[in-house]
Structure formats: C-alpha cells, structure tokens
C-alpha cells in the first residue's frame, strides 16, 4: 500500500511540474523576427522538415531557436545526403504518409511534383494578410534563381533554399607565381589569364601544371557515375553553345556543339588525378584541401571546406572566377527549393517557416555562417562581401544561372546521361556514339 501511494504522489507531482513548464513556455518573450511570425496561432505545432546534409543546412539549424522561440513552433530537421533526401521525399509524397510538413528538394523535381499534384502553389499564402511578412520584399529575390527554382507554368511553388552554383576554382598562388608564368610563356608562347578565360587556355594550363611526380595535377573532374558528373559536364555543354532540349522541348543532346563539349571534357582526363573517375564534389574538395589540384569546375558552397584552415592546406591560397567561355558564359545553377506538400499537416505554419528562412535578415545571417543567400541585399552586406567566393564570383555566376530541365522525365534522362558520359570517360564509346545513343533514349522517354 505504501509503495502504491508513493508512486501516485510522484506521478501527480510530475504532472504538475509538466503543466507548469508548459505554461511558462507559452509566455516566453518574443525575439526580433518578422511580424507575422510572432502570431501565436501556430504555437505548439511541430514541423517536420527534410533537407540535404550539407553545411548550409547546419547553418539554418543554428538559427532555428530564434524562429522556434518567436513562433512557439518546434521544427524537427531531418538531414540526409542528396540521394536519400529525394528518395525519402518521394516515398512520403507518393505514399501519402504525410510525414513531412515542409521540404527542401532539388529544383529539378519541380515539374514532377507540380504535375503529380504533390505540392501546392504558394500564391495564396503570399497574399494572405495573416501570414504575409510586411518586410518580405519579393523583388529582393534574385530573379533568375526564383524563376528557376520555383516557377512552373506561371505559378510560384516555393522559395529558393540553398542556392549553389558552379564556377571555376583555382590556386591563386600557383597561377600568379612569376616563375610559373615565365616557364609557361617559354613553353606555350603566351601568358595565360588569371584565371583562364577560354577552354584552350584552360587545357594548356592544366597540362602545364600536371606533375605526377610532385603529386600535382592541373584539373580535377567529378568523374564518378553520379549526379556530380552530369552537373559538371553541363557547364561545358552550355559554354560550347549546346543544350539538352530545344525551345519546343525536343531533345538535341547529340548536336555538334554537345559532341565537341564532351570530346573536350574527355580530353582533360590525362590532366586529372588517377582517382578522378571516383570523384564527386566532395572528393574534388578533398583533393584541393590536400593541395593536389590546381583548377576545377566546382560548386560554390563547397568552398567553405577549402577555406577552412583547420581542414585545408590551401586556405587563403584559392580564388574563384567564371567558367571559361567558348560561345557563351555558363554557370550551372543547382539550387534547392522550399516546397509545401499538398498533404502537409500544417501548410500555413510551413509557409511561415519558409518565409522566415528566406527573409532579408535571416538570409544575411545565414550568409555569414555558411549558407549561400538568395537575395540581392545579402550580397550588399559588408560582412558577406568579405567571404572570398561569395562576391564577386557567386553573384556573377547567379546572374547567368543556367538551369537543367525540370520536366518530370528529367530524373531518368539524367540517369542515362550519367551512364553515357561515364562510358565516354572510360573510353568505351566515342563522344559521338554515346550522345547518339543518348539522343535515341531521350526520344524514347519523351515519346517524340
């Protein structure tokens, strides 16, 4: 009898304590956040958010307590590598399990998700006076990015989340070294620009700096049969004047420009480290960190890793520039977008979250601690400008922002493109053969 009574007292005590804690939590002071978020109507709600496991997401998590305190909501962030995020998101959307209330998804899935009715246009939230942040200033979003990542058939489906873009990484110290420049002039007859501005210079410099005995290579290619491969190659494709689909949406993947671009890409192989056919963006960063590589076409958000003195032997020796040009400038835009699933349990709360995450203040703070911002104003901030690769390289690249097709069939097309380019790199097929094969496959997929 005594024990039972003791247990009863303890459990009642715990209940009371919990109630007090809950009540106290309800009246916590508000922080300085956009006006709409202080609306306590969404208090106590838990939002489940899924995103890619990269530094920008870590940065967002660091700022989450601000949002949670002000709105009373709790945000649970699930992070996974690229492949898994997509898989988990698809399973949730297709299986209608309603696990995730808000998503961060690669933007090429926009067409697929919109057509299948998985996500909702955000127009109605944007115009809802209860939700709209008075200081949101939609014009401040970099237009190219907003359109590429969130606009489909005239409707807006979200806001840009992580905006990464590809440009040229190079070892400033090596390229600027007068001894190297002099030797290059002797061997090649001209002085290269710093960094190289066209593909002929690029290859010459790559060849010049390939010194296997010193464990130094001119370039690194993201040569693994992986998303990274097609992402990198498409820069060359656009720069050589090629594209995947024409204006009417018909595939033109085996155009002469594309064949030339692929042949050029394959010709860089001797100037890359032996492991290059196993590289994705992560391994290219590692190669730079170890001082093994001089140049590469690589993602801007990876630069955090190479500028960190704790991890990188070349911190402070790097610089960034535009992708070399043949017919036109190119920069592969690889952003993620915040989407709201149609079956989200808390669509309005989700909208408040993404509005907060892309607000002026938050984007600026995020930029300072490791996320690439989607707003013009963030790039004007003096703190952000100090980050070597943000300005001017990232902003310049964002103005170009070539984006990959966002049609529903793109995943399959992308996967087949990975195979095609991998076969060209392995020497199993010539560039022309492999792109002819790809064209046939594309015609089959698109039913044209």
């Amino acid at each position: 009898m005594k024990i039972v009574r003791k247990k009863k007292t303890i459990s009642i005590g715990l209940m009371v304590l919990t109630m007090i804690a809950f009540l106290v939590g309800c009246f916590a002071p508000a922080e300085a956040v956009p006006p709409a978020v202080t609306e306590k109507t969404y208090e106590g709600i838990t939002l489940r958010f899924v995103a890619e496991a990269v530094p920008p997401t870590e940065a967002l998590i660091k700022l989450l307590p601000e949002f949670e305190k002000a709105s009373g909501m709790k945000v649970i962030v699930e992070q996974y590598p690229f492949d898994h995020v997509v898989e988990k998101t698809m399973m949730d959307l297709a299986g209608k399990t309603r696990i995730y209330d808000v998503l961060s998804t690669p933007y090429q899935y926009l067409g697929q998700f919109a057509e299948m009715g998985y996500i909702v246009p955000i127009e109605k939230f944007m115009n809802d006076p209860k939700l709209r942040d008075l200081e949101i200033d939609y014009a401040d979003y970099i237009e190219g990015m907003l359109k590429a990542s969130a606009e489909w058939k005239g409707e807006l489906y979200g806001f840009p989340s992580n905006s990464c873009i590809m440009f040229l990484w190079y070892r400033r110290d090596l390229l600027e070294d007068p001894v190297e420049r002099g030797t290059f002039k002797e061997n090649y007859g001209y002085y290269y620009s710093i960094p190289p501005t066209n593909w002929i210079e690029y290859k010459d410099v790559a060849e010049f700096f390939t010194r296997p005995e010193q464990e130094l290579y001119g370039v690194a290619l993201q040569g693994k049969r992986h998303d990274a491969l097609t992402c990198e190659w498409m820069n060359y494709m656009w720069s050589f004047g090629g594209r995947v689909l024409d204006e009417e949406g018909k595939p033109v993947i085996n155009s002469p420009e594309n064949v030339e671009a692929l042949e050029y890409f394959v010709s860089l192989l001797p100037f890359a480290p032996p492991g290059t056919t196993t590289y994705t963006w992560d391994e290219v960063t590692t190669a730079f960190q170890k001082g093994r590589v001089v140049m590469a076409i690589q993602w801007n958000d990876q630069a955090f890793g190479v500028e960190d003195p704790a991890k990188s032997e070349v911190a402070g020796k790097m610089n960034y520039g535009p992708v070399p040009v043949k017919k036109q400038p190119a920069a592969h835009f690889g952003a993620w977008t915040y989407f709201i699933p149609k079956l989200s349990k808390h669509p309005e709360a989700a909208y408040l979250f993404i509005q907060w995450a892309t607000s002026k203040k938050v984007q600026m703070e995020l930029a300072r601690i490791g996320m690439v911002p989607a707003r013009h104003s963030s790039y004007l901030d003096p703190e952000v400008r100090k980050i070597p690769f943000f300005y001017p390289a990232t902003l310049a690249a964002l103005e170009i922002s070539n984006y990959r097709p966002r049609i529903p069939e793109w995943e399959e097309m992308n996967s087949k493109m990975m195979l095609a380019i991998s076969q060209a790199l392995a020497g199993e097929k010539t560039s022309e053969e492999t792109l002819d094969w790809l064209q046939k496959e594309y015609l089959k997929i698109l039913g044209k």
Binding site: M116, R225, H226, E411
Partner: protein
C-alpha cells in the same frame, strides 16, 4: 485421436504460416500485379492501367542494358562463389587440423561475415579512396602506379567488387565446410592411411566425396545470396564506372527508385526471381542425378 492431433498441429503452425505468407506472398503478389500495369510515380499518364505483358516484352526485347546487367551478375556470381569455395575449403581443411590457436583463428575468420553489407561497402570505399585510402597508399608504396583508381576503372572495378565479396563471405563457406569436415567419420581416413595413401590422395578420394553434399548446399546458398547482392556494390560504385558493376539488382533499383517506373521495374524483378528459381531447379536436378547414379536415394 490422430485427426485431433493433426488439427492441433495445424493450428500451432498457423501463426507462423500467416506471418510468412504476409511477409513473402503478399508483396510478391503485389509486385506481380504491378508488373502487368503501367505505373510510374514520376510521370503523369502512368496511373496503373493494365497493359498485359507489355512490360515483359519491352524488357526482354528492347532493353539491352537488362541483358548486360544479367551477364555482369552471372560473371560476378560465378567468379566470387568459385573463389569463395576454393578459399573456404582450404581454410576449413587448415582449421580442421590440431594447430595452435585454432579456436582463436576460427573466431577471427568469422568477423567479416558479421559486418553489415552497407558497412562493408563504406569501410572498403574509405580503404580504396584514391586520395587518402590505406590500400591506395600501400599500392603506391609498392611502386605500382595505377592509371585510374581501382574502383574508377572499367577493367578493375568488377574484380575489386568480387574481391570484397570474397573477403566478406569466404568465412561463410569456411564455417559450413568446417562443420562438415569435423563430422566426417574417421575410419575411412584411418583405413586409407594404413593402406599407404598420401595426404592429397586421402583428401581427393575420401574427404571430398564425403562432403560433396555439403559443398552443394554451400554453393547453392552463396549463389542465391550473391545473385541478390545490392548494398555493398551500391555503396562502392553505384553501378559505375560506365556499366562495369551494374548488377541486375542495381539496375532494378535504378528503374524502380530513380526512374520511379515501378510497373516496368516489377516486371524486371519478377524475371530475376524466375531466373533464380530455374537456376535452383537445374542445380537440384544435376545434384540429385549424381546421387541416383551412385545408388544413394
């Protein structure tokens, strides 16, 4: 009396049967149903309408990559299982002797088998990493210059994956064969020794024939398992470079979870199942035939 007893036995078996059916039969029937339909999670217009044998026809006639992946899988199974058998038998024979530290070595040998396949993939990708992997470093130190990293060249990728499979599953063979060797009657061996037979002769004429049934079981189990292999290879190469390590399981995964073309993908998975089924039938047919010839039923 007997009727009641068999009814009780049936009832006791019922929960297990229901569970097994739910886990194996139901998904199987679901996949079977899907394979006759056009169903894609990514493309509108593929809502699940019935299209008969169209998926199968396309797969068998219009998909050279499918056949390529089957070939790669068969090559993989043949080489890996053979190596595992030879190595496993050798190690088992060794461990069957009264050598010092026998128990210790037996326990160590088992370790690779106990590691989850995904973890094996991760461990070996780190070991084989071209920049900082221990194996790559050792290769360089030995003076061998590789043009491409082991997992990055179409010539060495599949052999490397085979090697890793052998590394992980030879212990399985070893254990089965060791158990068989230990259970062998000692009289025939003693008799042969008295007659003056050498160690090799004893092994070939007495030991081997006696553990043949066990060898067959081991080959069967390993073959089925390695035909299904997915995790390790997926982590190591994702099917690349080019098509070099694209096992049938990986290609099936790609169709189902990258292209989201699940009707077509279910058809492929069903065909894989049939292949394994037919393979097992052939296997039993040949091994039973041997038994009949020897007069053992």
């Amino acid at each position: 009396m007997k009727k009641r007893r068999s009814a009780k036995l049936f009832l006791f078996h019922l929960p297990t049967m229901i569970t097994l059916m739910a886990i194996t039969l139901v998904p199987f029937l679901f996949a079977l149903n899907l394979s006759f339909r056009a169903y894609s999670l990514a493309r509108p217009g593929y809502e699940g309408q019935f299209i008969g044998l169209d998926n199968f026809r396309k797969l068998l006639n219009e998909d050279p990559l499918f056949w390529k992946s089957i070939l790669i899988t068969l090559r993989f199974v043949a080489v890996a299982v053979t190596l595992e058998l030879i190595l496993g038998l050798s190690i088992a024979t060794l461990l069957n002797q009264k050598i010092w530290g026998r128990r210790f070595f037996t326990s160590i040998i088992i370790v690779p088998m106990m590691i989850a396949p995904v973890v094996v993939g991760l461990i070996w990708s780190f070991l084989l990493n071209a920049e900082f992997g221990v194996v790559s470093y050792a290769i360089k130190k030995l003076g061998v210059h590789l043009e491409r990293a082991l997992l990055g060249s179409v010539n060495t990728a599949l052999p490397t994956v085979m090697f890793i499979d052998v590394w992980q599953w030879t212990p399985f063979m070893t254990l089965i064969l060791l158990a068989g060797l230990r259970a062998l009657p000692i009289e025939p061996v003693e008799a042969a020794q008295i007659d003056g037979a050498s160690g090799l002769q004893i092994f070939y004429y007495i030991t081997l024939p006696l553990i043949k049934p066990l060898i067959f079981v081991a080959i069967l189990l390993r073959s089925i398992d390695s035909f299904k292999l997915f995790d390790t290879v997926f982590i190591l190469t994702g099917g690349g470079p080019a098509f070099a390590t694209e096992l049938a399981s990986i290609y099936a995964y790609r169709i189902n979870f990258k292209y989201w073309n699940m009707g077509y993908g279910s058809a492929m998975v069903l065909i894989l199942f049939l292949i394994v089924l037919i393979g097992i039938e052939f296997f039993f047919f040949f091994t039973q035939r041997e038994k009949l010839h020897k007069g053992v039923s």
